[in-house]
């Protein structure tokens, strides 16, 4: 019975993803825009970076361009979760279909999850394209520990989805998706050190970076794929008598954080829908 229910949920998820994909394919220019937009931003930031350049500058023996490249890759996923879930819910609210969708006899968790179809459809070719664009502009490309990096990326995306549910819960009540998404993105761009190493930030702001959960995902993924020691935890950490390397410590932090984000996300999301249904505020904007 439980198995049957789970299978039916997966089928519903696929059907909803297919439906949303169909709508987005109605606007093919969007897909083209994704690629050009990225290539142009890469060109803009690379040119800006060159104005400050002195060839001998490296971080842990790695040029800043590699930090920007892999920071950018993980940022695409974070940004997509935020915009797909937040922006998607808001769009349905404005076009007046949110309430009907939530009244349909489907599992309410599937609704935001289906919106993430972008991650599987669009982001995979995109993350293959970003390194090529970077390589064309900077002539640099480093990719080590591929399997571990992909594993970290999967754990990170699960964590982002957990956060996405918390975010969806907040959007249902606050109805300010674009503003909140922008604020989160600003914080990440500056303190999450997306485009530069954490060590380039002034020392007094590192504490803010360490307080942002996303920073650990960014740092761990980037350090692993570049093949350097993570920056946020620099020395060995002792936990219950065990000594852990910075990499192991960050792996532990990200796993624990993913579990917490998923549990808290699912709970708050369910609660927010219950409240919105009770108060009849799903449709209002």
């Amino acid at each position: 019975m439980v198995f049957k229910e789970k299978t039916s949920n997966i089928v519903t998820l696929l059907k909803m993803s297919k439906y949303l994909l169909k709508i987005s394919l109605r606007y093919p220019l969007n897909f083209i825009a994704d690629f050009f937009e990225l290539a142009l931003w890469v060109a803009i930031f690379t040119t800006a970076m060159l104005l400050f350049s002195s060839p001998e500058t490296t971080f842990n023996g790695v040029s800043p361009a590699s930090f920007a490249l892999w920071g950018f890759v993980i940022y695409v996923f974070i940004s997509d979760v935020l915009w797909s879930i937040g922006g998607g819910l808001r769009y349905d609210q404005i076009t007046g279909i949110l309430e009907q969708n939530f009244l349909a006899p489907i599992n309410e968790y599937i609704y935001p999850l289906a919106r993430l179809f972008r991650i599987y459809v669009r982001d995979i070719p995109l993350i293959l394209f970003i390194p090529i664009a970077f390589w064309l502009f900077t002539g640099e490309f480093i990719a080590k520990n591929i399997f571990l990096s992909i594993y970290i990326l999967i754990i990170s995306v699960l964590g982002f989805i957990g956060f996405g549910y918390i975010y969806a819960a907040a959007i249902i009540h606050m109805k300010r998706s674009a503003i909140v998404t922008n604020i989160i993105q600003f914080l990440l761009m500056v303190f999450g050190a997306i485009f530069y190493p954490f060590s380039a930030l002034p020392s007094q702001t590192i504490i803010i970076s360490k307080l942002l959960p996303f920073s650990y995902y960014i740092d761990l993924f980037r350090a692993t794929i570049i093949g350097i020691t993570p920056e946020l935890i620099s020395g060995e950490v002792e936990l219950m008598g065990f000594l852990m390397s910075p990499l192991a410590a960050e792996l532990l932090i990200t796993h624990v954080m993913t579990i917490i984000l998923l549990i808290v996300g699912l709970k708050t999301y369910k609660y927010s829908i219950k409240v919105a249904k009770r108060n009849g505020t799903l449709h209002s904007f």
């Binding site: 606007y27 220019l29 142009l40 800006a48 104005l51 400050f52 503003i179 600003f186 060590s199």
Partner: protein, 275 residues
Amino acid sequence: MLQVVKAVFKLRWKYLTRYPGWLIIFIILPIVFSVIPIVLGWAVAGSPQQAAINFKMNVGTSNYTLFMILGSLTWLLSVSIMWDFGMWIREEQEMGTLEQLLLTPVSPVELLVSSNLWALFNSAMQFLIALFVAGILFNFIGLLFTPAMVLTLVYLILGVFPLAGFALLIGSLILKIREAEAILRLLEPGIAFLVGIFYPVTLMPTVIRTIALLIPLTISLQDMRAVLLNISYIFNPQLDLLILLIYCALWPLLGTKAFNYVEKKAKKEGGLGGF
């Protein structure tokens, strides 16, 4: 006409105050946006001091914060005007009110001009507020209270005014293609790349530079930087002003013609409400 402008301003002001967070975003966004290349620059150069030395060698000024802030503010100004106007059409389309709006006894041109005037006013205010906030944060506020600032504002106004025509052109494109978001998403980095938000356009190859000069903001931005930071003008102050004045007449004319054509066609074919 004045009544329409007043009504549109009143309506848009209501929208704006309904979501006050956007105001804060528009002040913070260009500052955060400028911080990225600045910190990236520190990372590349090794220290803020070395960054200033390298930047002076390449650009001709060591005041890279003001250089970057002016760039991102000008870019955001153009984005804001395009979104304000382009997305207004799209939102009305999505909510199903565009057709009704264009069928009211008010002339569509009056509606468009009013909406465009609001976009210009709103964006220019955001530009000035953000510039002063950035001036306080990055310690260049003194530069904003010099006579050079008056000339800077002249360049800004002459660069912004033709954008109204540019926005109309985009508006007509949105009515025709309906992929407003994609068009604007392509234009945002496209304009940023061409006008040189983080670098002088004079560094670009001739072909790109020639295309960039068709955008009024390219001249406006480079000349604002030239006035405040003593770097080179696009051509020379007089010629640049003359080109900007020509653009002030040319772009709105082109935009109005294109919009009228598309709107007339859409009304005839009955495709205004669909999205």
